[in-house]
């Protein structure tokens, strides 16, 4: 089938959802072009180099661990859909992670029964309630289109213990909730399965190797990708898209466009009249990466893969009134996965919630000062948990909500995008679709499944 258009599909954004969507469509012979504004693919989950070290951005770990034999697990379905060999994909499971509150601590790994035993130890009498919740999670189909349900309400009825509720919510919210305060139960189910039932792992190598593998697979099917190419406009005519106009002035025609730059970003490119405030997520973060010499391993308490901490009586998942809120956050040791070789250095990544507006309004001198202040505040707090890790660091770098906005096309640095999602990917234009963060599946595996699902439902039939 020859078409008059330059491409059958143009994908805006070379992040994980865009790459997965690209592989999926190119695999069946369609002519596809991915347009990526930066030098590298990956979007939120990418990398950069400083002083010869590769620094990964985005998620601390992949979720949804599954053995290759478990055919229906999301990870393995994804690999089959992209025709990647799961057997050749080497993984390292987490050592174990920890949820640390003032009065209670819970550890978990990729064996669900370990979490159950931890709950029995810390919250005697609550195990049955927790099992009831796990049963609700198993029975719920998060992919069926259903109306918003309050997770807080369901948890308070099922668990009947506010501390346990807050503790379970911390990792699940911080790794994938775009709403403040509460969470849609469907999203809770996805996160509970991906983190507690399936679990954390990382692939062999770095995120760069993972991205290389995807780009290579895409190119094998003759998919095209252009870097440093910014889209200025999605060209519309009545209820259809005709193509895209690049900032360079070049116009490219296509039969369909798949946008992975979020609802606000897509609205901006297409003049989609939307009440943008409702689609702007409030949850953004500051993250600091420290590189430490391996000699310091002894002085840092680093036997976990990830520590989720909260120093207040209750856990409030919301945008702070200050530049950052160091009272809760995440501490990640990217080297602490099973069977990874120890290098000369190791990293500590610390994430705290941050207020986008405060960072945006800071002028350039004030911004640097704010960064130092916030970083110092965070490291004092984290130092009380793992020891004064920053002493002797060979390198440190932080990124803020404005960095995230600049590099990842996430409006207002909201890493999980809009609190309102478009699950079926449809827009007012017949041949313009949304995939990725604002479609609704989050995380590395989730966003890739988002790309695959929208292609399957909207572009292959």
């Amino acid at each position: 089938m020859k078409s008059l258009e330059d491409y059958q599909l143009i994908i805006i954004g070379g992040g994980l959802s865009g790459l997965a969507a690209g592989i999926r469509t190119a695999r069946f012979g369609q002519k596809v072009l991915i347009l990526e504004q930066h030098h590298f693919p990956g979007g939120l989950n990418s990398f950069y180099y400083r002083q010869g070290h590769i620094l990964e951005t985005g998620l601390h770990a992949m979720t949804n661990f599954a053995e290759p034999s478990n055919r229906h697990a999301p990870l393995n379905r994804l690999f089959r859909q992209l025709k990647l060999s799961r057997k050749k994909f080497q993984t390292h499971e987490q050592i174990g992670s920890e949820i640390k509150f003032q009065t209670h601590g819970l550890r978990f790994n990729n064996d669900f029964s370990f979490l159950e035993s931890e709950i029995e130890r810390e919250f005697p009498g609550s195990l049955d309630h927790f099992r009831n919740l796990a049963m609700k999670v198993q029975e719920h189909d998060p992919f069926a289109l259903s109306k918003w349900q309050s997770t807080r309400e369901i948890l308070s009825i099922t668990l009947r213990n506010k501390v346990l509720e807050d503790m379970l919510l911390l990792p699940l919210m911080v790794y994938g909730n775009s709403e403040e305060h509460d969470m849609d139960f469907g999203q809770f189910v996805i996160m509970f399965r991906s983190i507690f039932l399936e679990g954390f792992f990382r692939p062999e190598g770095t995120i760069r190797d993972f991205l290389d593998m995807l780009v290579e697979q895409y190119k094998k099917y003759d998919g095209e990708i252009r870097f440093q190419t910014k889209v200025a406009k999605i060209v519309t005519h009545k209820d259809r898209i005709q193509g895209v106009l690049l900032e360079s002035g070049e116009e490219i025609s296509c039969r369909a466009v798949l946008s992975t730059v979020g609802i606000p970003g897509t609205a901006h490119l297409s003049d989609w009249p939307l009440e943008l405030e409702a689609y702007s997520g409030k949850m953004s973060f500051m993250e600091s990466i420290s590189i430490l010499p391996s000699s310091q391993r002894q002085s840092v308490r680093s036997d976990s893969t990830i520590i989720f901490y909260n120093n207040k009586d209750e856990f409030h998942y919301s945008c702070p009134d200050t530049a950052i809120d160091d009272s809760w956050g995440v501490i990640c040791f990217p080297e602490n996965f099973q069977a990874l070789e120890e290098g000369d250095v190791f990293q500590v990544r610390v994430t705290n919630p941050a207020n986008y507006e405060i960072w945006r309004q800071a002028g350039s001198t004030q911004y640097e000062q704010l960064k130092t202040e916030s970083y110092t505040k965070s490291q004092q707090t984290v130092g009380k948990i793992i020891g004064n890790y920053w002493k002797g660091a060979v390198f440190q770098d932080s990124f803020t909500p404005t960095t995230i906005e600049r590099y990842t096309a996430k409006a207002k640095g909201a890493v999980y995008g809009s609190p309102l999602k478009i699950k079926d990917g449809c827009t007012p234009w017949q041949n313009l679709f949304i995939a990725g963060t604002d479609q609704g599946y989050l995380g590395i595996i989730g966003s890739m499944l988002s790309g695959v699902t929208i292609v399957n439902q909207q572009l292959l039939q």
Binding site: F28, S69, R77, R80, Q81, R86, K87, V452, L460, Q461
Partner: protein
């Protein structure tokens, strides 16, 4: 294409979709889905692969025709009659 050739093509496509698929003892009149543990995403791959290779379009309402190996052959026979094995 003969019935045997069509049968081989189906097996080849499934093998290609799933590196683990095991065809020994496959009952040609029992659902592929249960025997090979295929899901709807895998079925879409079979349909798309047939379209890519032989330009045949299978509408969604006719997917049930692909339930067993024999029903696949019956359904595809007239569509692939004039196609030679490549």
């Amino acid at each position: 294409m003969t019935r045997d050739e069509i049968r081989d093509i189906i097996i080849e496509i499934i093998q290609d979709i799933d590196e683990e698929a095991e065809f020994d003892g496959l009952d040609a009149d029992a659902p592929l889905r249960d025997q090979l543990d295929l899901d709807s995403m895998d079925f879409l791959d079979i349909v798309m692969e047939l379209r890519k290779r032989y330009q045949i379009t299978i509408p969604e309402e006719e997917y049930p025709e692909l339930a067993t190996l024999n029903s696949c052959v019956n359904y595809l026979e007239p569509k692939l009659q004039s196609v030679a094995v490549s």
